[in-house]
Symmetry: C2
Subunit: 331 residues, 2 copies
């Protein structure tokens, strides 16, 4: 993809797309994605110091933000960053910021988290790392929360830190996450149908309260997943890689989802559920061949429901957000 509209100096940060929830961990688990073909699946943010603040959006999904009436998330992230640095007694800015919007919005791929995290990481590097790592995570969570009403880390944490991230209780109410030991041989398929589903709508279908049995099942399933990953118990991993809590409520919002899930199960997927609040679907396969077949079958299921789609066969991105080397190609 050409980036001729980027200014020639400054820094470029990349933040990967992510799967929120990862079936078992509603609001508590997230996984960063790295396509096996080496391409980048995530937004890029270019920043440089400037005489006055500016912001532009380029890239294949720039048009999707054109009708947005709220301030762009990258700008909110910038403002939170400047404010946090100022709280430490320093002044930074103004900045010229260009967001290369490469991820589809309202897709369930952590598009907003990617924009936020790439912005923060770019500004942090440009300004000489004025903030700590947990500060950045907190800022990213707050910026993400400005969309959904409360702090959610399940996309920003993996996009920032890479891997499979579990949200855990932090010191004095601070956000904290831990990287779980995801088996490196597993392959993750994500398929995005051409269909927008807002997080607000996905949250709107959830019932107001939960029963005790549901709550206990959800917690036991998530704790079982953590146990399975640490003990390398693949049978238990597969039993726990499911969503007992929200999937049933959201499935009707995504045409073709149940057929896609059934097809993935038939092909031996270890698990298959909505990515975040959907409409994207993810599945976990044991090798690349199986992953390709599952991606194809999920695409066919969406097509049968009248939706075009695009799929990626991925590992987990071990690194998370990063500054790209100057002049590097961004396939």
């Amino acid at each position: 993809m050409a980036r001729a509209d980027f200014p020639p100096s400054g820094l470029v940060a990349y933040a990967p797309a992510s799967i929120g929830n990862v079936a078992a961990g509603f609001d508590l688990l997230g996984a960063a994605l790295a396509p096996l073909d080496g391409s980048l699946l995530g937004d890029l943010v270019h920043v440089e110091r400037a005489a006055e603040a500016s912001f532009q959006v380029t890239g294949p999904f720039a048009h999707a933000l054109a009708g947005e009436t709220r301030p762009n998330l990258a700008l909110r992230a910038r403002d939170l960053f400047v404010e946090a640095v100022r709280a430490g007694g320093e002044e930074v800015g103004p900045f010229a910021i260009t967001l290369e919007k490469r991820l589809p919005v309202a897709s369930g791929l952590g598009s907003s988290a990617s924009s936020i995290v790439a912005t923060l990481v770019a500004l942090q590097a440009l300004c000489g790392d004025p903030l700590g790592g947990s500060d950045l995570l907190g800022l990213a969570g707050r910026a993400e929360g400005l969309t959904s009403g409360s702090m959610h880390l399940d996309n920003v944490a993996p996009s920032l830190l890479g891997g499979l991230q579990l949200m855990v209780p932090g010191r004095e109410g601070q956000p904290a996450t831990r990287r779980l030991p995801w088996p490196s041989d597993l392959v993750v398929v994500v398929v995005h149908p051409a269909f927008r589903l807002s997080t607000a709508k996905s949250r709107g279908v959830l019932p107001p309260s939960l029963g005790w049995a549901e709550t206990v099942e959800f917690a036991g399933n998530l704790a079982g997943l953590v146990e399975a990953l640490h003990s390398q118990d693949r049978a238990l991993l597969s039993r726990c890689l499911r969503d007992p809590l929200v999937e049933a409520h959201r499935a009707p919002l995504v045409p073709g989802f149940r057929a896609a899930q059934a097809a993935a199960a038939d092909l031996g997927a270890l698990g298959c559920s909505l990515s975040g609040s959907g409409p994207s679907v993810f599945a976990v396969a044991e090798d690349e061949g199986q992953a390709g077949a599952i991606a194809e079958a999920i695409g066919q299921a969406f097509l049968a429901a009248g939706l075009e789609s695009r799929g990626w066969v991925c590992a987990l991105d071990p690194e998370g957000a990063r500054i790209l080397p100057p002049g590097s190609p961004h396939p």
Copy 2:
């Protein structure tokens, strides 16, 4: 304790007391107890083949069962065992069974689980192991569920299997548990106030439903505990060794509990909560000296609330239920 009333032949099984919930894992976690002084904290069941079925209860808490109108749990366990063996095409029995009731009832120490598990383990050994290990766990869960209305494994699993047990999703709805890696240097204090609190009453104070934030906090806290144990992260362990779900509802039922908890925290306990549904309280200490001080302080808190109490300083019992060697003393 004298056991002159035990017949001279047959087998004796021991099943340890246990802490249900272990703060973080309502209905999902349980820990088996082994007093550091080498004494047995749990019920004993003696079984032998007999011309006709008989059952008697002895021991220091036999009187507590005297007014019980329902069949004793040991008898229900025996009946489930005989039925399960019969389903496999074998006939066993009749048995002469003596339950030495050493645990206080309605105490939060897993007293009913101990009676059930000791009965099953004794019969299983006497009959030459006709059932599989997961069958025994399922039977124990069913026997325990006859009290509370649904299957609960959080006491029977540790009493049967030892250690800290997490309930996880099993194959085709079967019960399954995993032993979590509890640090062997930690010391567990349990203190039992002279006060009965039925599980039914403890469950009765819980609200009918839960909010999403509560559910997510509970699951994240439990998953964080599993992560902390595997990664040997003691700070995270301490942050997760708490009960965000039920403790607040049950605390008012136990006079002195909040004072006991505050005293344990002042003394540096890693965590302190109700054991199971109470009224017993447990705390986790980092060494035996600290544990002794905490046990003393919890006892003082109960005394200030008008309750005598008895405390034990324990490790986790690594083995769980077992057949005692013939003629062994049972301190």
